[in-house]
Symmetry: C2
Subunit: 146 residues, 2 copies
């Protein structure tokens, strides 16, 4: 029996589920956050562009199956909310463990832009663009689009 | 007399004007492409997050006044079009000249996500997130959001 897909009532619910699924390395929960009917885009730090649901799934299947585990701390969220679209920009600090039996470590600071769209099945993520960053983050901002 | 602001009938018109203004180092034309009423976000490769119209303007004023000039070649556009929002992801190859009287050079390949919104004054850019990339780009895609 196929799993019931979750319904995210807000973009923040979708974003919380997105990062929680990464923390748990839960591929099904992770893919359930992505917009299904749409082309989706995922850019990981310094990586190539992943375009389309199947490509995103395959890349993250490999990441999760590599045994790496991620402890993600988010900060400095900037939120632009519209009726049908919401853009979040957030700083990610990522601790990685499980690599080659090593101690793991901390990635460089990452800045991520997450674009969410409202669909008939609730809010889903359409774009995740993450990249290395330097310098001081700007303050916390939340604003409603007109 | 203040300049008449341009009206961009499509997200592509706005994106064309965005890159054309960078090529010409024309700060006024460049800022005219950004959403004025909104918080805007600009992330340059490996740089900090610039949030808000004034911060974006100040950063680009410095870039243009530094004397650097950019020849930008775009490729592999991926376009997701909605009624009120449009997301473009594009590869940028940037040639830089005018640095310290040197010969200039070519930046590493860059991947940019540009988010456009439709407002009462036409399409404007809300988010520009550019970052270094590696690996093969995916093919050209254009899709209409449901």
């Amino acid at each position: 029996m196929p799993l019931q897909k979750p319904f995210f009532a807000t973009p923040q619910d979708a974003e919380n589920a997105f990062y929680e699924a990464i923390r748990r390395a839960d591929l099904e929960a992770f893919m359930a956050v992505w917009a299904e009917d749409e082309e989706v885009i995922c850019v990981l730090p310094s990586g190539p562009r992943l375009a389309g649901y199947a490509n995103v799934r395959e890349a993250w299947r490999r990441i999760f199956e590599s045994g790496r585990r991620f402890v993600i701390t988010l900060s400095q969220p900037l939120v632009l909310n519209g009726m049908l679209v919401s853009v979040h920009n957030v700083h990610e600090q990522i601790g990685v463990s499980g690599v080659s039996g090593g101690e793991g470590g901390q990635t460089a600071p990452i800045l991520a832009t997450n674009v969410f769209i409202r669909s008939a099945v609730g809010w889903r993520i359409l774009v995740h663009h993450a990249s290395p960053t330097q310098g001081e983050p700007a303050g916390e901002i939340s604003k409603t689009l007109h």
